[in-house]
């Protein structure tokens, strides 16, 4: 895997016609999709800027593939509008849209050689023969399959077939490439390898990629923007960092990594210009950044990532300004790189703690049954929608 260029520090964005201003490439406006009386997509709107690597992430059945298929033209929305480069394409069939798709099972034509598969789109558009030949050869070079040009799809491995599917779509120089779980059928090692390759190709050619996946690590490692979908709607979208550090819903907080979620009753009046205060079910005070709770009235739910939390013995003093909860270690697991603890508070809250393995012997660790203080920097506290039941 050497012909793809080294990844540069900052992703290159192609200059747009507007002279650097971000341009909307794909746009869905109030899209609904119903099958009979079952709603698959309910009022979904999204904007994808040109040159972005955009991931639709969610569990199976969340509507992410349906969304992609509506962009590709394989499904018609029940209502709403699909725009490509500002043009309404809602009613256009797939062959009249300037996007190409890499299908989940690749859907390579079994009766055609690798070469012919890649040339298929160009031949349909009556591109000049020499030009077709040149572009196919170039594309096969990019995905490093030149030596397999004469093979039939049935003679390829999964990774090779995936690259043929990619080449077959990209050779048409689409405005945007749609990828439906393109790495879903591959083993883990190959997936990681192809993720890097896919990202590098996207940077090199600079077109918009819309990537559907249920693998959060895949989405985080590749995408500029991730939209987390659940139940036919986008829960939250943003960069991997946005979603991980500042999830806005319980679903996002637990779909991307894991979170400790605690229901909190806010106390009236702000503590200072920065923080607000509330109490947990254990009647312990916690603080959180005021602006993160904006727009929420009544009970809220706060969260913190397990690796942001530290444990202290009862006779130790946690850093001033930390949120501190008290509980008992229920389980302590040594995982080599990390130590993981499950702590239960008297009010029944269960908290996960992941500590780096810095000590090197069991003296500094906590065993089951030990009373501990669970502490974290109040700035690391995020606020999700007001909760009613436990996390």
């Amino acid at each position: 895997m050497t012909t793809v260029p080294e990844s540069t520090e900052t992703p290159r964005r192609p200059a747009t016609a507007a002279g650097g201003a971000e341009q909307r490439d794909i746009c869905l406006e109030h899209v609904h999709k119903r099958y009979g009386d079952q709603t698959v997509i309910g009022d979904l709107s999204l904007d994808i800027e040109q040159g972005r690597f955009y991931a639709l992430l969610g569990p199976s059945g969340c509507g992410k593939t349906t969304t992609l298929r509506m962009i590709g033209g394989f499904e018609l929305p029940t209502s709403g509008t699909v725009l490509l480069a500002g043009q309404d394409v809602t009613q256009l069939p797939p062959h009249k849209r300037e996007v190409n798709t890499v299908f989940q099972s690749y859907a390579l034509f079994p009766h055609l050689s690798v070469e012919k598969n890649v040339a298929f789109g160009l031949e349909r558009r009556k591109v000049d023969k020499h030009e077709t030949k040149r572009r196919v050869a170039e594309m096969l070079e990019t995905v490093q399959l030149t030596h397999l040009a004469k093979r039939r799809p049935g003679q390829l491995s999964g990774g090779q077939a995936q690259r043929v599917a990619l080449a077959r779509a990209l050779v048409n120089k689409p405005r945007a490439l749609l990828l439906d779980e393109p790495l879903g059928a591959l083993d883990l090692r190959l997936r990681r390898q192809l993720q890097d390759q896919l990202k590098a190709i996207q940077r090199e050619i600079g077109i918009t990629f819309v990537h559907v996946t249920h693998d959060q690590e895949e989405a985080m490692s590749m995408a500029d923007t991730i939209a987390v979908m659940n139940g036919g709607a986008i829960e939250q979208q943003g960069s991997a960092e946005d979603l991980y550090e500042r999830p806005e819903t319980s679903f996002v907080a637990n779909f991307l990594g894991t979170s400790n979620l605690v229901d909190v009753t806010p106390e009236s009046g702000t503590l200072d210009h920065e923080f607000s205060r509330g109490t947990t079910v254990d009647r312990e005070p916690v603080r959180y950044l005021t602006h993160r709770a904006e727009g929420y009235a009544g009970p809220i739910r706060i969260g913190v990532r397990p690796e942001k939390v530290r444990l202290y013995a009862t006779d130790q003093e946690p850093p001033a300004g930390d949120n501190v909860l008290h509980g008992k270690v229920v389980q302590s697991t040594f995982l080599g790189v990390t130590l993981q603890y499950l702590v239960r508070t008297s009010g029944g809250l269960e908290l996960n703690v992941v500590e780096p393995n810095l000590v090197g012997n069991s003296a500094g660790t906590f065993g089951a049954g030990q009373d501990v203080q669970v502490a974290w920097d109040a700035r690391q506290t995020f606020v999700v929608e007001g909760g009613t039941a436990g996390a």
Binding site: G72, G73, F74, P93, P94, H95, N100, T101, F103, Q104, S105, A107, L108, F109, P110, H111, F120, G121, R124, R125, R152, G154, R168, A169, N172
Partner: protein, 287 residues
């Protein structure tokens, strides 16, 4: 016997019943008939092996008209069946939805009745005083004073009718197996529905079309029931000749020679047909 040796022998044990079957019911009868075809003599005194190759030349000289007619009828019936079966199979595979099973049942339902019975019923339906022939005269398929029964058309019709399911089923099976996403991929790559059909569906259906054509054409070439029930002495097919040589005239050498000529011509025809459709496609897509 060592374990590895026994392992190596295992496939042969599995093949044994089939192999025995082939030897007893195919290889031996074929060799026997080859020797019969080279015999001379007459039904009274019996036949003995005299290596009389001239039987073959005489058979071709005397019956080339029936051969030509058989291939013509069988070819026409195959073509008609293809034209009817492809859209039908396409409909069942893609549009019949939950009624697929019912449609397939309807296709094979006529097989529950014996072929002779079915053909005899057509004889009744197609008889000269019948309603159907009158209507056909109205639209001009049959001339006003003419008849349909006892013509070549009636025989071709009968063959087409009797062998239609053999064309429908293999085409249905290949169409049904085509991954729907391939059609979507074609449409993604700038194919209209018609182009997608031409460039993807049709090439992928070739193995089914090939199988269906053989299943219709081969038995149709040797068929004698349709000609004897729906035809006349002017529509005699090679199957009728072989049947009468074997069972009525008891001229076994000529009957055997005719059978081998028929077999040879069909094998040659299949080889050419397969080459035209592309054997590479057939073997690779079948897998």
């Amino acid at each position: 016997m060592s374990l590895s040796r026994r392992r190596r022998m295992l496939p042969w044990w599995f093949a044994l019943p089939g192999l025995l079957w082939l030897i007893v019911f195919f290889a031996i009868p074929i060799l026997n008939q080859v020797s019969v075809s080279l015999m001379s003599g007459d039904p009274e005194k019996g036949y003995e092996l005299t290596w009389t190759f001239s039987t073959y030349w005489d058979a071709i000289r005397d019956y080339h008209a029936q051969f030509t007619r058989s291939f013509g009828y069988a070819g026409a019936a195959t073509l008609i069946d293809f034209v009817i079966a492809f859209p039908l199979a396409y409909f069942i595979a893609y549009k019949a939805g939950r009624f697929k099973g019912l449609w397939l049942l309807l296709v094979i339902l006529p097989f529950f009745v014996s072929q002779v019975m079915r053909t005899a019923s057509w004889q009744l339906i197609l008889n000269d005083q019948g309603w159907l022939v009158a209507r056909m005269q109205d639209v001009g398929v049959v001339s006003d004073d003419g008849r349909f029964l006892a013509t070549g058309k009636a025989v071709i019709f009968g063959i087409s009718y009797n062998f239609l399911p053999f064309m429908v089923l293999p085409i249905y099976a290949t169409l049904d197996r085509i991954d729907r996403r391939l059609i979507e991929a074609a449409s993604d790559l700038y194919c209209s529905r018609w182009t997608a059909f031409r460039k993807v569906t049709l090439p992928l259906a070739v193995p089914g079309i090939f199988a269906g054509s053989l299943l219709v054409f081969i038995p149709a070439c040797g068929d004698y029931i349709n000609s004897s029930i729906l035809g006349s002495s002017n529509t005699t097919m090679i199957g009728n000749v072989i049947q009468s040589k074997f069972l009525n005239v008891l001229d076994y050498p000529t009957a055997a020679a005719l059978s081998f000529i028929l077999m040879g011509v069909i094998l040659l025809g299949i080889a050419i047909y397969g080459r035209v459709l592309g054997t590479k496609n057939l073997t690779e897509l079948a897998g």
